[in-house]
């Protein structure tokens, strides 16, 4: 963090108290309590809030910017909120699976439940409400995906949520259409703030001189989020069974249409490394 501070960069932390989690995991395993239904018990929200506070304190001491990745709980939101109120340069991220899914889906041992054993865990409705509230009052700044789906193995499904294709639509359906976020907050958290937080030049705004990275979004288009409507090579979706209202129909990158009429029409490998600075 001191090196980050000296170079005016951004420290990004996955914050959980691992010693405590390992202790709880060991105890649960001794009682035969393994698998999805024990995942949240093993990783209590207090252990996440503690680690977020610790990272905030260290960033304060080092003088560095801090982004707390995948905040999943009320305690984490609270600590980010208090740090911001003190004027510290702290930002918070959450992910669609924490906003849309709950630990009710982890009560079975099937492959879908196994694939959702992410860290930190998907929690209950009370924590989910705190995340939406945190987004609405700008305690949490950005929504990313932690997209990391894995192919199932023969006997189990490794953990990892898919979301890279569905995020914008999920936040629109479960945020804007439910009245939790305004249209502007949706754009801010999904498009504008990430560019600011990561220091991506010419990105994230509809302003002359900015890159023409633009999405045309049909607010009335319905789409079922099943694997055969999506473009991952995986045969599962973390959001299987959910239908969203509102979906992107045209995607433009640096002035070039890359998706329209349900087809990818861009050139392979056209993406560029974004060199950053604040």
């Amino acid at each position: 963090m001191e090196a980050v501070a000296r170079h005016n960069g951004l420290a990004i932390v996955h914050a959980e108290n691992y010693d405590l989690i390992q202790e709880l995991q060991r105890r649960l395993a001794m009682e035969g309590k393994t698998g999805p239904r024990w995942h949240t018990t093993m990783c209590p929200s207090i252990a996440e809030g503690e680690a977020i506070h610790r990272a905030i304190a260290l960033a304060h001491q080092a003088g560095s910017r801090l982004l707390g990745f995948h905040v999943s709980c009320a305690e984490g939101v609270r600590e980010v909120r208090q740090a911001k109120a003190r004027g510290q340069a702290v930002w918070g991220e959450t992910c669609p699976h924490y906003l849309v899914l709950t630990d009710a889906l982890l009560q079975s041992d099937d492959f879908h439940a196994q694939s959702l054993m992410v860290h930190p865990p998907i929690r209950d409705a009370k924590h989910q409400a705190a995340l939406w509230q945190g987004l609405a009052d700008i305690t949490l700044d950005i929504i990313s995906t932690d997209h990391c789906p894995r192919h199932p193995l023969e006997d189990r499904h490794p953990a990892g949520a898919s979301g890279i294709e569905t995020r914008l639509a999920l936040v629109h359906t479960f945020g804007v259409k439910t009245g939790r976020l305004t249209l502007n907050q949706w754009v801010d958290a999904c498009c504008t703030r990430p560019a600011e937080v990561f220091g991506l030049p010419h990105k994230g705004k509809l302003a002359p001189g900015y890159d023409a990275d633009v999405v045309l979004f049909d607010p009335n288009k319905n789409l079922a989020l099943s694997p055969h409507h999506l473009h991952s090579p995986l045969n599962f979706s973390s959001y299987e069974g959910l239908t969203v209202t509102g979906f992107p129909v045209t995607t433009i990158s640096r002035g070039e249409v890359i998706v329209e009429n349900g087809k990818f029409v861009g050139k392979p490998g056209r993406g560029r490394f974004v060199e950053r600075g604040y």
């Binding site: 108290n17 405590l20 207090i46 252990a47 503690e50 506070h53 610790r54 304190a57 001491q61």
Partner: protein, 447 residues
Amino acid sequence: MAYDLVIKNGTLIAAHDFFTADLAISGERIAAIGHDLTGKREINARGLYVIPGAIDGHVHLTDPRYAPLYTPSADSFAVGSQAAAFGGVTSFVDFAAPKAGISLVEELERRQEEADGQAVIDYALNLTLRDTNPERIQELPTIFTRGVTSIKMFMAYEGYQLDDVTIFRAMEVVAKHKGLAVLHAENFEIIQELRRRLTAAGKTGPDWHLAGCPSTTEGEAVYRVIAFAQLAGARLLLYHQTCEEGVREIGLAKARGQPVFGEVCVAYLVYTSADYKRSLERGYSILTSPPIREPHHQAALWQGLADGTLDIVSTDHGPRQRKPDQPGQGISSIEARLALVHHFGVRAGRLSLNRWVEVCCTNPAKIFALPRKGQLIPGYDADLVLFDPNKAFTFSPQTLHSAIDFSSYDGITVTGYPVVTLSRGEVLVEDGQFVGQPGRGRFIERG
């Protein structure tokens, strides 16, 4: 009927009110509060405050086995407890601190044997857990049956530091037995890193003490153990709060309804970090960890005491006989606390008289669960102090009763000082003399 002893016409100050009355004692207990009470002996307290005896919840009397945090040649139980009595203290909480590998019960018994027959006032013990062996934690329930209900744990310092998981495991035992977890909270890894850098740059001594222990490292650790205590369901006392970050986190935890208490030690209320630079002698006389900090931190401590965020004022009394080549840490406060908090708190308008009594006398009894201590209520132990609010007193090694040849408060003059101290109905100090029996103090069994 005539009571054994009546304190006549004093101004009785309790945690919530004050009034002029007689206080009558039968045997070891307060028998009655009223007017025109008569006793076989009477003490005129007109113009004096009559308050519950002060309780010092944080004292390290000498024990060479506990080096480096304790050193020989300082206050024994006999000398330290007598000095305490002169300062209006009638109970204190010290420690049994078994090294790793030593049975908790054996060390507790040894420490009690050391104190019994020496202490002149009543004492309780914390058990300091220094062993991370999970089997050692299994001995804690036995400790609770021996009248020791508070478990002290260090997050910092060699020979004492415990890891997060050990602290959490011990807190679970504390929770099950409705005890009290007592924490020294500092982030030792960061402190070690900063000290290493300072030492490499030749920056050592009192001048640089503060730079090695920034307030952020304390606030971080305070929050961390508040989180562990919440998860474990344990009552928590944070020892020696020194900074606004710690006060802030305790205040927020209290606002969330968590049973968390905060202690400040009197040196942090009297001195600021500028005093480390004033002279090398003064600097070493107030060297302690966590360090004494800048004025805005001191203001946060007084504010926290006034608004109820911090609950008690203790001393962390740990005097060291100084040797030129081994300065060591430790502040001597056991005798000075009640008068210092009165002078710098009440007289300076920072605390009410009632709050002074609450943080020095009443709350320590409640938080440490000392039975029949800390309040002016019939049936409670007649542990009392007669305090003259107008008596001027200048601290120096000559006017204090510690075994060491310096005072951390040398040269400070306060207005207001204890003039008579009673313990369980017996006058221990009057007319500037100790008149009690040696070794009369008792171990306070808690439950």
